[in-house]
């Protein structure tokens, strides 16, 4: 076993402590109670809508969630925010109901009806008490099939979105996350901000919204999951009744381009009033259906996916530099992002980035000790029942498996595949994937205090927050 310096240091301190304190070991576990991922009944309607029903009688609730291939990636950068605007306007008026009539019907039943957009998909979901489930289905179907996108509603939403962006642009946390996506993915369709920018949102036209809806909202580009206090037959009957008559065909599901090659570069967004710097270090990741995904997930647990990860132990517990440091894969259908992020007081910015980058280099050399590997697997396996405790979390996993083409038995077999994954597979996946010499570093804070010191990590660009334009290829506003 080749332990890393860091891990050795940690183990040493713990061993010393144990010897001096004469410690008692924790009690052993009892035999585990088996748990199976709930089965979903499935059926495809004549219009191509794929329907899944998960019966869960524990509470008098019915939830339904539809995902359509109508996410940010299908809008061009100069119309960034279009997918979100389209989704948000669905519940602001249909052919037979005004925005306030929809609101009164939802609120009156104590229900929830929501619509928004991510990279790949738009999601429309509802949760209603069992006794009001029919109302929920009727409203959900109405907003999906019959939105009218009234001009005055667009103006309202636009004003809300612009005010929201004005607040977000004062937040270093928001800017770090949005700028890191651009810094890592360049001009890939997944790189642009889903909320849009103040300029793109101001420029959106009603025709853009109508055209986006007409093209991408169609049953052959959609999946529907119904979960809760409902039998499979009842669920299919509701789906047929409310969505069976939706006659529309959208374009075929064409693939998006792969992620660009990683390149070392440093992007600093200057916000001189901050006393803390937001930091994101990353590279392009993998799509969700990548064959190495489980192995990389195990690796990520070790590097930065938990409180006890190498990253958090070093930056938080051992150095007191931050309240949190973690890493994650954000996988979409055709590409993804791998990112490690943290924040620290301004004067420690360069130190924190140096430690983070060194840990990534070390991680590529020594991805997992036996102990770390066993712990990561034990956690992912053991926490599976917790992560799928509610009807909503089961529904969301079923959708993930379908939208990403993971296979309909993916979650049934997930823990088996996890168990079969070897340490050698994790090591080779991490080494194939990780490029610590080509990291994109993003830092948002008081630039003059640290930007020079970041030249060690690649060519540095400093953009004042007021000049940032996340929707332009160069990322800066054109000079007037």
């Amino acid at each position: 076993m080749r332990a890393t310096l860091l891990i050795l240091a940690m183990m040493t301190s713990m061993t010393d402590h144990a010897q001096t304190a004469n410690r008692v070991a924790p009690p052993p576990p009892a035999p585990p109670r088996p748990y199976e991922f709930p089965r979903a009944a499935s059926r495809t309607l004549a219009n191509g809508l794929r329907v899944f029903v998960i019966e869960d009688r524990r509470l008098p609730l019915v939830t339904a969630s539809m995902q359509l291939l109508a996410g940010h990636a299908y809008a061009p950068p100069e119309k960034a925010g279009l997918a979100m605007m389209t989704a948000a306007l669905l519940r602001e008026g249909t052919k037979t109901r005004s925005s306030q009539q929809i609101a009164r019907a939802v609120d009156g039943a104590g229900g929830r009806l929501e619509a928004n957009a991510g990279n790949d998909v738009a999601t429309i979901s509802m949760t209603f008490l069992k006794s009001h489930a029919d109302t929920g289905f009727e409203l959900m179907a109405d907003i999906v099939e019959n939105p009218v996108f009234a001009p005055e509603e667009l103006e309202r939403q636009r004003q809300q979105a612009l005010s929201g962006l004005q607040v977000q642009y004062a937040s270093a946390q928001y800017l770090a996350s949005a700028a890191a996506a651009r810094n890592i993915l360049g001009t890939h369709p997944y790189a642009w901000p889903g909320d849009g920018t103040p300029d793109t949102v101001a420029a959106l036209q009603r025709e853009d919204v109508v055209a986006f809806y007409e093209r991408f909202y169609a049953p052959n580009r959609a999946w529907l999951v119904i979960a809760g206090d409902v039998s499979a037959d009842e669920g299919f009957a509701q789906a047929e009744k409310w969505f069976g008559g939706w006659k529309k065909q959208g374009p075929a599901d064409d693939p998006l381009p792969p992620a660009p090659e990683p390149e070392p570069r440093v992007l600093v967004i200057d916000m001189p009033t901050e006393n803390q710097t937001q930091i994101a270090v990353g590279q392009p990741g993998v799509p969700r259906n990548h064959p190495d995904y489980i192995a990389l997930q195990i690796g990520n647990q070790i590097f930065g996916g938990s409180f006890n990860s190498r990253l958090n132990m070093k930056l938080r517990a051992n150095e007191g530099l931050t309240y949190g440091a973690n890493s994650y894969f954000e996988p979409s259908r055709f590409a993804g992002i791998f990112e490690a992020s943290t924040f620290t007081r301004t004067e420690k910015t360069a130190d924190a980035i140096r430690m983070l980058v060194d840990l990534l280099k070390e991680f590529r050399e020594n991805p997992a000790t036996d102990e770390e590997f066993a712990e990561a697997k034990a956690f992912l396996n053991g926490s599976f029942a917790i992560a799928t405790e509610t009807a909503g979390s089961v529904a969301s996993r079923v959708l993930t498996a379908e939208v990403h083409g993971l296979g309909s038995d993916y979650w049934q077999r997930y823990r088996e595949r996890l168990e079969k994954t070897t340490r050698a597979e994790v090591e080779s996946a991490v080494r194939r994937f990780l490029r610590p010499d080509r990291l994109a570093v993003t830092a948002v804070g008081n630039a003059k205090e640290f930007s020079r010191a970041l030249e060690a990590f690649g060519p540095v660009r400093v953009i004042p927050a007021a000049e940032l334009d996340l929707a332009s290829p160069e990322m800066v506003k054109r000079k007037q």
Partner: protein
């Protein structure tokens, strides 16, 4: 579509609650739910930021962090690791009134989790070096949540102006100066005063047998000696008889904001249910009065909310709005006041009352979907209401609220002379 009131069929199944108190005063509240092989365990210590000594604001929360830095048989950060190896998740939080430690884990690890929590109740073993580092961690948390985000300091300003004497005057994160003042001696003193079995409640919900859980709890916690009588806050907040106003600046905030706050009775008070219903009528959903008038019709605010924060001591109602660019924040506040006046002059229509009740019933059920959701509320009933049995009767208290009750509580508690208003101005506006 006019919705009917949620029927009896919409009631969640009652929780079978079992209780036991050990000789050392530790109270245990357990409920079986075998639907998943999962348990949520919580240890509630009845101490929060209101119990802090003068000059030590933020200490209860700093102390919460230190509880992960080692005890007699568990090394620094090892608590997290032992939970994680079991496939569990773990965290803790500090409020004005309580500090809560929790784990959610596969049910076969129950004894390990009880052992872990008992070890740090019985002993704490934090080195000076780890204490200093953890203080820096908490200061980063303060910078992250309060100092750098736009509107991050608003709650601090509002509480400081709303309370004259009661220790809800400060937020649980505390001030940087006080965090810097804390010492290792404070840590020992706090542990021996508040982290004693007679100030703790163990809450367990999930795949367990209550008798077996009591037996294991007795085995691991039974030997911890009872502490001294726990000191309680005696300060009284004087009744507010005149409106107060403050204007504060925020260098980060781009848009004007306002908070109007009003004193309320404590959590669990008979009027609290009508007040929650009033809050729902004011701001739950897009048909609520504040949203509809200010955000939708007048489009003067980007957000407008009315919300009750119920605490163990004198509680508070907030009306909050952020102005859209170029809109007058005083005009927005006066519109919010008009809406409150309307509610104090006329009871809500039956349809609106039904709507609010349905919203409360539905979110009540949704919040208790998970073992953790159930344990959160069970703990609140046990510690703040002093009666875990209220878990199964709270929904009826909302259902019994009448339209006249809503009118009465708005007139009584949200009266103009009881208001504290805090305007937040973007610092950039100072030049104007």
């Amino acid at each position: 579509m006019i919705a009917a009131i949620a029927s009896a069929a919409d009631a969640p199944p009652a929780l079978q609650i079992r209780q036991k108190t050990l000789k050392n005063g530790l109270r245990i509240v357990a409920a079986e739910d075998r639907s998943r092989p999962v348990i949520n365990l919580q240890v509630w210590y009845h101490v929060g930021s209101k119990d802090e000594k003068p000059g030590r604001t933020g200490f209860a929360h700093l102390f919460e962090h230190l509880m992960f830095r080692g005890s007699k048989n568990v090394g620094p950060e090892e608590h997290m690791r032992l939970v994680r190896q079991a496939g569990g998740v773990v965290n803790a939080y500090t409020t004005f009134d309580t500090t809560v430690y929790w784990e959610t884990f596969p049910s076969n690890y129950l004894e390990r989790m009880l052992w872990l929590e008992a070890d740090r109740m019985a002993s704490l073993d934090v080195s000076r070096e780890n204490f200093e580092k953890e203080r820096e961690v908490v200061k980063e948390e303060r910078r992250l949540r309060f100092e750098n985000p736009p509107y991050g300091n608003l709650l601090e300003q509002v509480l400081r102006n709303t309370y004259q004497r009661y220790p809800y005057r400060h937020v649980p994160i505390g001030s940087m100066e006080d965090l810097n003042r804390a010492t290792i001696a404070d840590v020992r003193d706090f542990h021996s005063t508040y982290y004693v079995p007679n100030n703790a409640t163990l809450v367990l919900v999930g795949d367990l047998d209550a008798e077996e859980a009591f037996r294991l709890a007795e085995k691991h916690f039974g030997g911890i000696p009872r502490g001294r009588r726990v000191p309680r806050v005696r300060v009284k907040e004087p009744e507010q008889k005149r409106r107060r106003e403050a204007v504060v600046e925020d260098a980060k905030a781009p848009l004007d904001a306002v908070v109007a706050s009003y004193h309320l009775p404590p959590a669990g008070h008979p009027d609290s249910y009508a007040l929650e219903i009033a809050a729902s009528i004011l701001s739950t959903g897009q048909s609520s009065r504040l949203y509809r008038r200010l955000v939708y019709e007048q489009q003067s605010a980007m957000a407008a909310q009315g919300e009750a924060l119920f605490l163990e001591g004198p509680s508070v109602f907030f009306c909050f709005a952020i102005a859209n660019p170029g809109r007058d924040i005083r005009q927005i506040l006066s519109e919010m006041e008009n809406i409150l006046t309307e509610m104090s002059q006329k009871p809500p229509a039956e349809e609106e009352l039904t709507k609010a009740k349905n919203q409360i019933v539905a979110s009540f059920i949704l919040e208790q979907e998970s073992m953790q959701g159930k344990a959160d509320f069970l703990g609140k009933c046990a510690v703040l209401y002093g009666d875990p049995g209220r878990y199964n009767t709270e929904l009826d208290r909302y259902r019994n609220v009448s339209a006249a009750d809503v009118q009465r509580v708005v007139r009584t508690y949200l009266a103009p002379e009881r208001q504290t208003r805090v305007f937040l101005r973007p610092a950039a506006a100072r030049a104007k």
